[in-house]
Each structure stands twice: as C-alpha cells, then as structure tokens.
Symmetry: C2
Subunit: 321 residues, 2 copies
C-alpha cells in the first residue's frame, strides 16, 4: 500500500530580514574558469527562520497533523530513514493516516544558519561519534574506540554497523540559541494550527515548552527522552495530554538518571494540575535494547505503533472530517 | 489528482569518516538548567557527503528517475515550493510520472558542512538580497535599494513580493569546493543508476560535468542557466542529449552574455561530436519575463512542461516496465 499525498510543499517560517554591517568583503571565485569577484556580505540576510516540509495526505484519517521535531545537532532527516536505510517515523505516521510536517529547527539543515559571531553568540559545536556513542547509550562506559572498534550492548536495537550514516546526519549547532529556536517553532504552530507535536531529545524539550505556552495549538505532545523540561510557575489549569517515551540502559548513565528525574518531577507537576501526563518506559513493556535514538532503532516502527495507540486514546475525537 | 508514492526515503552518500585533531575543547551548555560541559570536537566526523530525498512513485510512467540539483548557495528547497508558496518542479515531475530525487549538495542544507578552516579552505560566503537581485536579473542595474524599495522589470515572472522567503532559502557556501561536490554527485549517480539530471545554475555546471564523466549513468541532462561549462579535451563519441534553458534579460547583463557565450561554444563542441545539444531560449518562444530563478518563477510549471516535452523526445524509449 502506497502513500497517497494531496501535495508536498515546504516553507520557511519565523525570523526576519536583518541588515548586517561590518561583514567581510572578499574576492572569491565560485565558478571554474571565472576570475575572482568581490563578495560583499554587507546587506540583508534572513535570520531566525526554520524550515518545514509538509506532506498532506489525500485522505487523512486524523484531523490533527503531526509535527516531527528533531534533536540537537540533527535535522528532520532523523525521522525519514534510519541509518540502515529502514523506514522512520515519517513513513509510519503517513501510513497511519496523519498528515505530517517534518522541520529543520533554526540554525540546522535547510533552515540555514546566520553568521557567527555577528548574529550567533559563539562558534559552532559539533558532536564526534565518540560523544554520540556516550550520549546515545550504545554501550557501557569505555566501550568505544572508533567506528570500527567498539563493544555495543549485546541487545542494542540501534543499527550500530551504520555509524558513518549516523555521522552524516549530524550538523553543527550553537549553544545559547533556545530562544531563537522556540520563537521559530511558535511561528510554525501559528501557521499550522491545531496539531500533535512529537519531539526527540532537544526537540522534545521545545515540544514541552510549546505545549505549555501554546496549549490552544498543541493538542497532544510526545516527548522522546528530553534532556530538559520547562521550569518556573505554571498557570493553573490542565494542559494537553503528555506522553514521555524512554529507552533502555538509563540506569547505567548518571546523566540520564538526572534527565529522567527532572522529567518525572515535571510529569508529577502536570498531573497535579489535572493534565494527563504519562510515560512509556520501553523496558517495562518488555521492549529492550533501545538507545536514545529510538526513532532510528531497528524496532522504531513498533515504538511508533505504541505512540500511535496512545494518541488515539488521548485524542479520541481526532477524526478527519 | 494526488501524488501516489511507493515510498519516501532519504540518505547521505559520498564522503568519508575523518578523524579531526586540533579542534577546540569548549565548556558549553546546550540544555536549559544544565551546567556547561566540555565539548571535545576532536574525533570522527563525516565529511564530503550529500543528502538526497527519494520520492518513489507507486506507478512511474518513465524508467529513468529525475535528479534535481540546486544552484549555488541554495538547497533542494529550490525545487519544492516557490517563494510565493506555489508548486515547484518536484511537484510537476512527480505528477508527470517520474520518480524524483531532490538533493542538497555537499556543504549545503541537510548535507551538513565540515569545519573551516580545518577541512574547508576558507570562511563561508553568503549572498545578500542585493547580490541576488543583480545575479538573478530581477531589474535593471541600480534598481535595488532594499527588500521594500526596488524597481523590478515590469514583466518579471519572479514573485518579487516574496524576497524574504527567497532569502530564507539561501545558505552559506564556500569557494574552491567543486571537487568535493562533484565527488558526492558521482557517488549519487552510482547509487541511483541510469537517470535524468536537471541542474540549476551551479548545479547545471555539475550536471554537465557528470554527463561528460558518467555518460553511462546520465541518460539526459538539462542545464538551466549554468555559469560555467566543462573544459579541456573530450573523448570522441556522442554524449547523452543535452538541453540548455535560458530566461529573459540576458542581453542587459554583461556577465550573463559571457556565461551564455561559454555555453554556446560548448554546445557547438558537443554537436560536432554527434551529441544532441539544444537550447530553449524562453523569450524566443514568446515566454517573457523569466529570471535566473526560472524554476521558482510564476510560470515555472509552463517551463517544466517544455522540459518534459523535450525529455520525451530525447528519450523516446523511456517507458517504465
């Protein structure tokens, strides 16, 4: 069975035109056989936008589209295809009858990135495969030497033979740009209207923030292993239903224990305000071996199906007209 | 009528893992509420890859898929949606029965970009709206002040009220990276197999190069306003059919006269070798007002239809099995 789309469109949203001054003027040749010409970067540039690709189904079975928000140092590619070439969550949710928006956050991928230090506060940061290995819980501490020599967890679901493909998905990122990213995500929500947001890692943090700041637009939120949660006083009243999703090996990594504890405290705070706030701990369901990149793990479709089932329960009236 | 896809997949191709040394180690906080941690960028990074998104039709009407290669400082977004939100050439060629690959070249968009100066030879270059205005022939010399104040050609087909959306599509680029880009495009061709390549501007130059270097894979090539052409001696024998597409106002801009002359000389050289090498000058066909960004102009679907007709004539046996 195929994917029957009404249309595929993309757009940038958020940000503004900014006139930059004090930028370099350099003689450059971009064309073979052409002499260098002066490139004058002083002038108007777009800054602050994000990029979104909209897959609109011909016959959606749900009224709310799903927005897929990627994690730190990554792009919307996270949702498209796993590093081993298997279908990702974009494929799952389109076939499950949801129209889907896949976005590249501010500063990542097709969103482009503004100059530093003129606009961005610092030089770009880049993750090595070694740092990804540690962050993503692919193996115990000390189990990584390089892409060819390493000892992953025996039951790991991540396709560990495809580390080069994972490294290709990584993009530079900047510290201190959360406000830029959130502003652009709010612009996206305003443009899309009522929707479901599924966020991974850093994108899960942004999703939790937006669910709290724009509950009239975010009808349900799924936070996959966020490293941070919103803080500060909350307005009284219930927020849209929340689901956390957690993979395996959390107990072996102090940093993930801390991230989990922060999320659990926030979950409790939400529940006290009357919000449906649940957590899916995959190992508790007998689903073992999932990494922090569970949306790309070999069993990612099985996990997507659990999330889909939760969404249908959380939004029982979400039927397309 | 919708777009019926068998699948949507994406992948990176080309390049390699490279271990970088001498990279900064910096204390950074990427998570709100978390103390800064050391980010050590020394280690393995992916460099040299491009990104491609593959839209495979359920029932293609042509055996060869179309590869859409964007221009300098841009990404595959060029082909998706015009700055005014209208369908681009991706939409046209999918509905015309071709499976399509849209790529982001090395260093652009979702392909990511390696560090400079450690890997790339120089700092990034960025086009201002003023430089785009001049390059794209939106108006006569001296007709641009800023995005709000300007005098476009009276019959211009580019949606000039959407300059911010155009600026959002621009990404940083580097000079001196043609070999990187070409290597990755060749890796893409090897992966895809026999295909049609349509390139715009810088992407048209790469398409011409690849048609010459890999004629067993490139079955037809469409070069939209290239600024450069391959040079040097050619192996004897015919290459795949070539089509150039040119917009309006070329005669008003010395640089475009020069680009046109180079292409015409190469076209003649191809013809002398027995290659079908034709040019579609839109004004000669009564189609006026097209800019260098004719794939995003208001009449872009009309031009795509002309290209489609040429392809069917150039590849009369290109029927899907």
């Amino acid at each position: 069975m195929g994917i029957h789309l009404k249309s595929i469109r993309s757009f940038h949203v958020g940000g503004r035109l900014q006139t930059l001054t004090g930028m370099p003027v350099t003689a450059l040749s971009h064309l073979p056989g052409e002499p260098p010409r002066l490139s004058d970067m002083n002038g108007e540039h777009a800054v602050g936008q994000l990029y979104a690709q909209h897959f609109a189904l011909e016959s959606p079975r749900h009224a709310c589209p799903i927005l897929l928000w990627h994690g730190g140092g990554m792009t919307g590619v996270s949702w498209e295809t796993t590093p081993s070439g298997q279908p990702g969550w974009l494929d799952y949710f389109l076939r499950a009858g949801y129209s889907v928006y896949v976005s590249d956050a501010f500063e990542r991928g097709r969103a482009s990135w503004p100059p530093c230090p003129e606009v961005l506060p610092s030089p770009p940061d880049r993750r090595t495969l070694a740092s990804m290995w540690a962050l993503c819980r692919f193996g115990p501490d000390g189990s990584y030497q390089n892409a060819a020599t390493n000892r992953p967890h025996a039951d790991l679901q991540f396709p560990i033979g495809h580390l080069h493909a994972l490294a290709c998905q990584m993009t530079p990122r900047w510290a201190g740009t959360d406000d830029w990213a959130l502003d652009a995500y709010h612009a996206l929500l305003e443009r899309v209207g009522p929707c479901i947001v599924i966020g991974h890692s850093q994108g899960a943090y942004y999703a939790l923030q937006c669910a709290r700041q724009a509950p009239h637009l975010v009808k349900a939120v799924v936070a996959i292993e966020p490293g941070a949660v919103p803080d500060g006083a909350m307005a009284p009243g219930a927020l849209p239903p929340h689901l956390w999703v957690w993979g395996d090996y959390l107990q072996e990594h102090a940093i993930w224990q801390r991230h989990l504890a922060k999320s659990q405290a926030y979950q409790q705070q939400l529940q006290q305000g009357g919000t449906t706030a649940q957590a899916l701990h995959l190992p508790d369901e007998g689903i073992q071996g999932n990494s922090h990149l569970l949306i790309m793990d070999d069993n990612n479709q099985q996990i997507a199906a659990r999330v889909d089932a939760w969404l249908q329960q959380a939004l029982p009236h979400d039927h397309a007209a």
